[in-house]
Symmetry: C2
Subunit: 550 residues, 2 copies
């Protein structure tokens, strides 16, 4: 097998660790905790794991830990650093007791249910240190929800002598981890469950979890590309680049990339929703900046668009809902021979409000909407090329304004979408260090008998040596939400808060960024070997949230 | 103005230079040269610049150089390193005589004709050292061809006291540089012209020019992303990624990226043309590998596609030609109200051969073909999303083969296109060093009275200290070709040679790469500060062409 020079060099990187891990430690337990909302309901649903205290690690006496066996699962979409959670967990377990064993379940939660596993030996773990991807054991999106699944998990744990499971995942996976922990306690299995906060989207964070891993690396990869494109725009002075970025349910990625690269226009879904903006309003806002720049002789620029935008626009969500209702299992529609007839059929069937929205869409996009449907007949929103939708609508609007004499520039636009390019990048130093510490923290939580906890590492805006590992009871993060028509206990998702420092920074500066491409920042590629200020910076989001300068 | 940490750190990078530049030098002239073909014709067209010798730089006595003033032009598409050509040129000129002056023409050759310029002072040059982009003075695609343009250039040179012009560009721009040099000599203006070999496409190379600048960096940026996507494919095991890469007239970028990342499938346009393959053949080849991998339980992988592919397929070029003839200024067609009617109109007008090709295309792509036309009514081939075309056609073919029982896998594909992401990246050490030396070489060629030459630096597969700067007479690279119906002298473009080592390496290994995703290489992002084997590697193409191991 051939490796790139960077793969070879990077394999030797030793993640930086908190000083807390350098001595023997013991746990210090805080006050018992409450869930963020719906305390009574959550307490009733989680009688065995509710109310546990936050735990800290403080210097303690050296002690002997009995041998344990742990199983680890990677759940959901890939995020840079997953492999280092495993290496940190492995090293932590081996330091506690060299006889400890680590199993990996192959192919995510589904693999655990199906009893697919492998022992993670030193040789295997070493081959994946500091690398991107989840390929060491793979992952899937199976939700652990049924008793049948739970019991299958118990079976394989008993079979392998597993004392604890570490689930690496996003908000839903960590909710599942807590459900599992609760079930295991209720059934007196003795099997512990620990979660680790993963998602490039950055929407798993709160008072006690400062960021999810992978967000740092993914944003840096996207920002590298945005910077390159901005330099191209500023050089050729010909094109507007419309750049859609991954992140369906929150706009953290788009916001962080905007802070890193200072584009001319940044759309934040949460702001669009808060201001009750229509798609036409968004288009108008973009057009206005393009017109201003054109008046200054600048017919080029950059626009950042969060993947989830259209789902945050009420009229659009409604239209999608109506189309789903109209077209699912609609044989009459499917039998129509031409696209034009299908379009007429739809126009004849929508109510007035939906019709206005539908008519406002470019024909190509409208057609894509009704064509790209999943096996249930539902529209696949993630396949909608929002950047192209906006380009077409902006072009149309500018043509009108040109006819009215308001706009005198020329408009040529190029679409981009970045998603898969960043999910499996080689983790940045930050993510490599952070995930290693998360894995290491997990081993300590397990060794100290904890279950229904997430590993967390705080003080992340300071150098790694000063980071503070803690254990967070998962029930503390929960509230009740409607999901598929049912009221369920879930970890509250963190959307972009328009009152927090990162958005405020954008808000304060965006007028200047819109006007001056001299504001463009060119972040360049992630560096692993250079000066610390180049290699070890956390995200601007994190720095601003901690009151730091950026 | 805010800069990223990498921008700040990178500004201090001192490009590595050949030892040849460390002493006082003088020129050593070789034998007189001949053009690569059509010697008599080229000689007649370039009586003043034809046949000049290759020049080398050898240690010589210290001498005083009279004060000179130089103008520099960036021509055509951006390529990483353009700014370092300018800083190398600036430093070279200042070392020869601190009183020397450098002007930059704003906005490319068109800017020179329009007399737009700025003096490039130390302050300006310092602000752009080792950065990507052409934004220091901009560029355009104006061709210098008419006497009126030439005379306008002479006027501004006389006005500013310019003794020499450096034109940084691709094959066409360097052809123009030679035409200009010839005209200036003929008119006894005393103004010299020097060219520098630029293009990310890598198709400006030959016996005496080992590579064009920007190719290294662009390929490394694309390979970073391809590697990340491959890791994602290997982790989620769900998707085939179809990745189109910039490079319309040659497939060097795709080939180099394949050598760096070892994807499952690589399409090389030159091979497709040499084997007289149809689009259906290409689709069949891809489908065959997908079926083999599916049989081994692997329903995922990567396919690299050169942007220019369809233009290398004769039936497709013919169809485009026919459609151009049919649709240009065709009011009857444009007046048809629906896409379906337009499609029927086209089907009724094509000859049988074209009709077969047209019918083989997915409807969406066929429609794009006839809709995306330039102001002259011609189809804009570069806007055709070949990766989506192939996905649709492969999906259709696989569905047939599934119905026949040949294929039992599942096929889900994701399209990508990388172009603008790499043209303005921060130059790799290689490109930063190489371009600095090209600029420096230009200053020496000028100081020694040369005109109609290109700066070249050879021995690039060795460390920079051993590089060999030379001057290459441009007529030497020329032959006669048909361009827009006229026979013209042009620099011969270098396509991928199927007999050369880089393609041979792909050919030898691709069967294994198709089968095993364990062959995937993950190059990671360009590094600037780490160990030399990580930071200073030239392209695999260059290494293989020089008989080195990769």
């Amino acid at each position: 097998m051939k490796h790139s020079p960077l793969q070879i060099a990077r394999a030797w990187y030793m993640p930086k660790m908190p000083v807390a891990f350098q001595t023997d430690i013991e746990l210090e337990e805080g006050e018992s905790t409450e869930s963020v909302a719906d305390q009574e309901e959550i307490k009733n649903l989680f009688p065995y794991t509710y109310g546990q205290p936050i735990v800290k690690f403080v210097p303690g006496k050296s002690q002997e830990y009995p041998k344990i066996t742990v199983g680890v699962i990677l759940s959901g979409g890939q995020a840079p650093g997953g492999h280092n959670v495993i290496s940190g967990l492995f090293d932590g377990l081996k330091r506690l007791n060299p006889a400890n064993k680590l199993y990996g379940f192959i192919g995510g939660p589904g693999g655990m249910v199906a009893h697919k596993y492998t022992e993670l030996t030193k040789e295997i773990v070493d081959a994946y240190r500091n690398t991107g991807g989840f390929d060491i054991i793979g992952s899937d999106r199976t939700k652990l929800e049924t008793e049948e699944q739970f019991n299958s998990c118990i079976d394989i744990c008993k079979q392998l002598g597993i004392n604890a499971i570490v689930i690496v995942g996003g908000d839903d996976s960590n909710t599942n981890a807590c459900v599992l922990a609760e079930y295991f306690k209720q059934k007196i299995t003795g099997i512990q469950v620990i979660g680790c906060p993963k998602t490039i989207d950055g929407d798993l964070k709160n008072e006690v979890i400062e960021t999810s891993f992978g967000f740092d690396t993914a944003c840096k990869v996207y920002s590298e590309l945005i910077g390159n494109i901005q330099r191209d725009a500023a050089s050729s002075k010909k094109y507007w680049h419309f750049i859609r970025l991954m992140g369906r349910s929150a706009s953290h990625i788009t916001l962080e990339c905007a802070l890193m690269s200072q584009p001319n226009i940044t759309i934040i879904s949460e702001e669009v929703a808060a201001k009750h903006m229509t798609l036409a309003d968004v288009v108008d806002d973009i057009a206005r900046i393009i017109i201003d720049r054109a008046a200054a002789g600048k017919n080029f620029g950059t626009v950042l668009i969060p993947e989830g935008l259209i789902e945050f626009i009420p009229a659009f969500s409604k239209l999608i809902q109506s189309l789903n209702n109209l077209l699912a299992q609609n044989d009459e529609f499917s039998a129509l021979p031409t696209a034009d007839e299908q379009r007429e059929y739809i126009k004849g069937s929508l109510n007035e409000e939906d019709l206005v929205t539908f008519r406002s869409l470019p024909i190509g996009i409208a057609r894509q909407l009704t064509r790209e449907r999943d096996p249930h007949g539902n529209i696949q929103v993630s396949l909608i090329e929002t950047e192209k939708l906006l380009i077409e609508m902006v072009a149309k609007r500018l043509a009108q304004l040109k006819a009215e004499g308001v706009y005198k520039g020329s408009f040529a636009a190029i679409p981009h979408f970045f998603g898969y390019e960043g999910r499996c990048a080689i983790p940045s130093n930050f993510d490599a260090d952070y995930t290693y510490s998360l894995g290491y923290t997990s081993s300590l939580l397990i060794a100290n008998g904890k279950s229904g906890y997430m590993a967390s590492v705080r003080n992340l805006s300071e150098p790694a040596s000063q980071w503070q590992p803690i254990g967070v009871p998962i029930t503390m993060l929960m509230n009740m939400e409607q999901r598929n028509g049912k009221r369920k206990p879930v970890i509250r998702k963190a959307l972009v808060n328009l009152n927090d420092a990162p958005f405020k920074y954008l808000e304060k500066n965006r007028r200047e960024w819109a006007a001056n491409h001299s504001s463009f920042i060119y972040p360049g590629p992630i560096q692993y070997f250079g000066p610390s200020e180049v290699c070890d910076q956390p995200t601007n989001t994190l720095l601003l949230e901690h009151g730091k300068e950026v």
